[in-house]
């Protein structure tokens, strides 16, 4: 279970406060969606969950399976099952996708005290997962994300997620930039990972995605806090009325 308690976050180098007492619980087996206006702090929340530098937690705590993770290094969190599909995935020149996947998979397996995968095991595993996500195997021989289209980057994020077998999946606008067919493929990939041992947090601007990945709950994040929580229908409401109600509160 993911428990975010009264989380206050500011930028480390500036006075800007972004999250102002955010509280949220995602039990295992559930998928929660987060929606909210641009600049409301959705990506910040995702980064803070993953342990990116540059943010300072001034109050509150984040517990994953009962254990506080806010002091942990990003790779320790990854070993504990935290995975972030980035809104803007990074390019790594010169490092082939396969090398990256293999290094990451084995790094995580080692930290989880599992045996490292042999080359044939790894190749079989990656071929299978790539095929399911409609990812051309040739693309994995190219450097990570370099020259990838927006949609290709997002699909490659989901492939990494499938390979690393995380238990807490945070997806930051994975749907933006995807064409209709790709949206279906990616959603199928995400749905395939749904299970009683996984919790998922899906950040999106569009209720369309939630037709494919049906959430258990929808939260509205505005002005650094969860302003409203509801079921799937909340997304439809927002589509009609926008965020005026919540940003109004902020003003």
């Amino acid at each position: 279970m993911l428990e975010i308690k009264n989380l206050h976050v500011k930028l480390a180098d500036e006075d800007k406060v972004i999250l102002k007492g955010l509280t949220l619980t995602v039990p295992k087996g559930e998928v929660h969606a987060i929606m909210g206006p641009n600049g409301s702090g959705k990506s910040t929340l995702a980064y803070v969950l993953a342990g990116r530098e540059g943010y300072e937690v001034t109050d509150g705590d984040i517990l994953w399976n009962g254990e506080s993770i806010i002091e942990m290094e990003p790779d320790e969190r990854a070993a504990k099952g935290v995975f972030l599909a980035f809104q803007y995935p990074m390019e790594i020149p010169g490092v082939a996708g396969l090398t990256f996947l293999r290094t990451a998979t084995n790094a995580v397996r080692k930290k989880r005290e599992l045996t490292e995968m042999t080359t044939p095991e790894f190749m079989k595993f990656v071929k299978e997962k790539a095929a399911k996500l409609n990812i051309d195997f040739e693309m994995l021989k190219r450097p990570v994300n370099v020259g990838f289209s927006g949609g290709e980057k997002k699909r490659s994020e989901i492939l990494q997620m499938a390979m690393l077998e995380p238990t807490l999946c945070v997806l930051d606008e994975t749907d933006s930039g995807l064409d209709i067919d790709a949206l279906k493929v990616v959603s199928d990939g995400v749905n395939a990972l749904r299970g009683p041992d996984r919790a998922m947090l899906v950040i999106t601007h569009y209720q369309r995605l939630l037709n494919h990945i049906v959430p258990d709950k929808v939260h509205v994040l505005a002005d650094g806090r969860i302003q409203k929580t509801g079921g799937k229908e909340l997304a439809l409401e927002l589509e009609k009325s926008g965020y005026a109600e919540f940003t109004g509160k902020a003003a």
Binding site: A12, A50, G51, R52, E53, G54, E73, P74, D75, R77, A78, A79, V82, F83, L84, F86, P89, M90, I92, P93, G94, V95, T99, F100, T103, A104, T105, A107, V108, K111, P143, Q160, L164
Partner: protein
């Protein structure tokens, strides 16, 4: 605090002392007295039972060196070297005489085993260790070559691979014809010094039309205190021949700085190709910049024949100071020179390295790919010259220099000189400098890599196109070495 800023603090803790080749070997040595004069030059020549012309050649070089001064143009700084306070000759006792593996001091064999240098020719020949690559090795310990493997097998193909001392005794005419023909005695201060006192090194001769049947390599090891190492390598590729040669080097950890001043000469005749690779891992000094090797090296290849090709690939991770510009003289028409370089500096290391491509013949081409990685408090300079002579019509060059900075206390510099005395020359130059970004490291760490693994992965990606130039046998080891050299470079 972003990781890169944190580096500043963390860098103070850099553990360059992880240098794993830093052990010392206890071997009884024969040394010349300290200091340098004509008698020392005579001592060295006599120890090696050299022909008379060689002694004269050395003395000539010595007198020229006396009249020269140390160059100061490189972007490096170091206390003045006291050339009178060094030993110029140190050799393991009983190392003279016939050299087969059976005669080598077992202590020395043990040392090479610890260093991972494959000297067990018998076992490899007998197929016992068939997983090991077949590489012929010339092992040079301080001032002398202790053994050269696979000599007989190479001789069957007509290839001569032996120490330069042996070559002077057995193939004197060949050495005399080519020695100093690429790097003259008075070429520069360190080359002159080397010409006077060089102790050993390798000699390779590949006859016409022969493709050398295996990788050749020389392994240099400095062991003795206060001893300079001055090796001399001469490689001759006759018409239509091919050879690939690799040198590796290590030294024990010492508080004092040790001097290494080598000269390498390559000669490629018509249609011949020489591929020369270096993995330089001399002791870089400790985390405070104390100790380490001063590496002042002159390496030059002469593409003397038509359609000849010389390619230098270097991976420089060691030494406190590196002063090194492997160059190509493109004399033959249609000849080609290549320089692929990875220079990694960490701690207080100073690297000033690059190449010279001198286009003399018609339709000559050259290619320079340099990757500099600076971390810690190090300074990393690429210095290169590309020139086209008046008669070098159709000369072409492509240069790409990329620098990667880790942290903000280090520096990367690019100093390219271009001289085209010919309007048909076509020279292209690209240069980039980037910082290893926190975002890229975070991305990798989010996928489970530790910060050090992330740096190693990103850096190996950065140098990929150069790594691909290395002989397969040395690739994996080199990738690891680059990772190790950068350990402790981030928080």
């Amino acid at each position: 605090m972003p990781a890169v800023q944190e580096t500043v603090a963390q860098v103070k803790k850099i553990d360059v002392d992880q240098y794993k080749y830093g052990f010392e070997t206890d071997i009884e040595m024969v040394k010349a007295p300290k200091g340098l004069n004509e008698d020392i030059v005579r001592f060295i020549s006599e120890k090696k039972a050299e022909p008379a012309w060689m002694l004269e050649w050395r003395l000539d070089a010595y007198r020229r060196w006396r009249a020269m001064t140390e160059p100061t143009w490189a972007k490096i700084s170091y206390p003045k070297i006291d050339f009178e306070d060094l030993y110029y000759y140190a050799a393991p006792k009983n190392s003279e005489g016939p050299k087969s593996l059976a005669d080598v001091d077992p202590e020395l064999l043990k040392m090479y085993e610890r260093l991972g240098v494959p000297l067990q020719e018998q076992e490899i020949l007998a197929g016992v260790k068939s997983d090991k690559p077949r590489v012929a090795v010339d092992a040079v310990f301080d001032s002398v070559s202790v053994v050269t493997t696979f000599k007989d097998e190479l001789a069957k193909a007509g290839v001569i691979f032996c120490s330069i001392s042996e070559a002077l005794r057995e193939h004197g005419d060949l050495v005399r014809k080519y020695l100093g023909s690429v790097v003259p005695q008075s070429d520069n201060y360190y080359a002159a010094l080397n010409s006077a006192v060089f102790s050993d090194g390798s000699f390779v001769y590949v006859p016409e039309g022969v493709r050398c049947p295996m990788e050749l390599s020389t392994y240099f090891r400095i062991n003795e205190r206060e001893t300079g190492q001055f090796e001399r390598t001469l490689i001759i590729a006759e018409k239509g021949s091919y050879v690939s040669y690799l040198e590796g080097c290590t030294a024990p950890m010492r508080d004092e700085n040790q001097l290494h001043a080598a000269v390498v000469e390559l000669i490629a005749l018509d249609d011949a190709e020489i591929k020369y690779s270096t993995v330089q891992n001399w002791y870089p000094g400790d985390k405070n910049g104390k100790g380490g090797i001063y590496n002042f090296v002159t390496k030059r290849g002469d593409c003397r024949g038509r359609n000849s090709k010389i390619s230098w690939t270097q991976v420089e991770t060691g030494s406190a100071i590196t002063w090194k510009y492997p160059s190509c003289i493109l004399r033959g028409d249609n000849s080609r020179g290549e320089f692929y370089s990875i220079a990694v500096s960490n701690g207080y290391q100073q690297v000033d390295s690059g190449t010279k491509m001198i286009h003399l013949g018609k339709n000559t081409s050259s290619r320079i790919i340099s990757k500099g990685i600076a971390a810690g408090y190090s300074q990393n300079t690429y210095r290169g010259l590309v020139s086209a002579h008046r008669k070098a019509t159709g000369a072409r060059n492509f240069t790409a220099c990329d620098s990667l900075l880790i942290g903000d206390k280090c520096g990367a510099h690019t100093v390219p000189y271009i001289e085209a005395k010919n309007s048909s020359a076509h020279f292209e130059h690209e240069a980039t400098t980037s910082k290893i970004s926190d975002d890229m490291l975070f991305y990798c760490q989010q996928r489970g890599l530790s910060e050090e693994e992330a740096v190693a992965l990103v850096v190996n990606g950065f140098v990929r196109d150069v790594l691909q130039q290395l002989p397969m046998e040395f690739l994996a080891e080199t990738q690891k070495l680059i990772g190790i050299s950068l350990e402790g470079s981030v928080g």
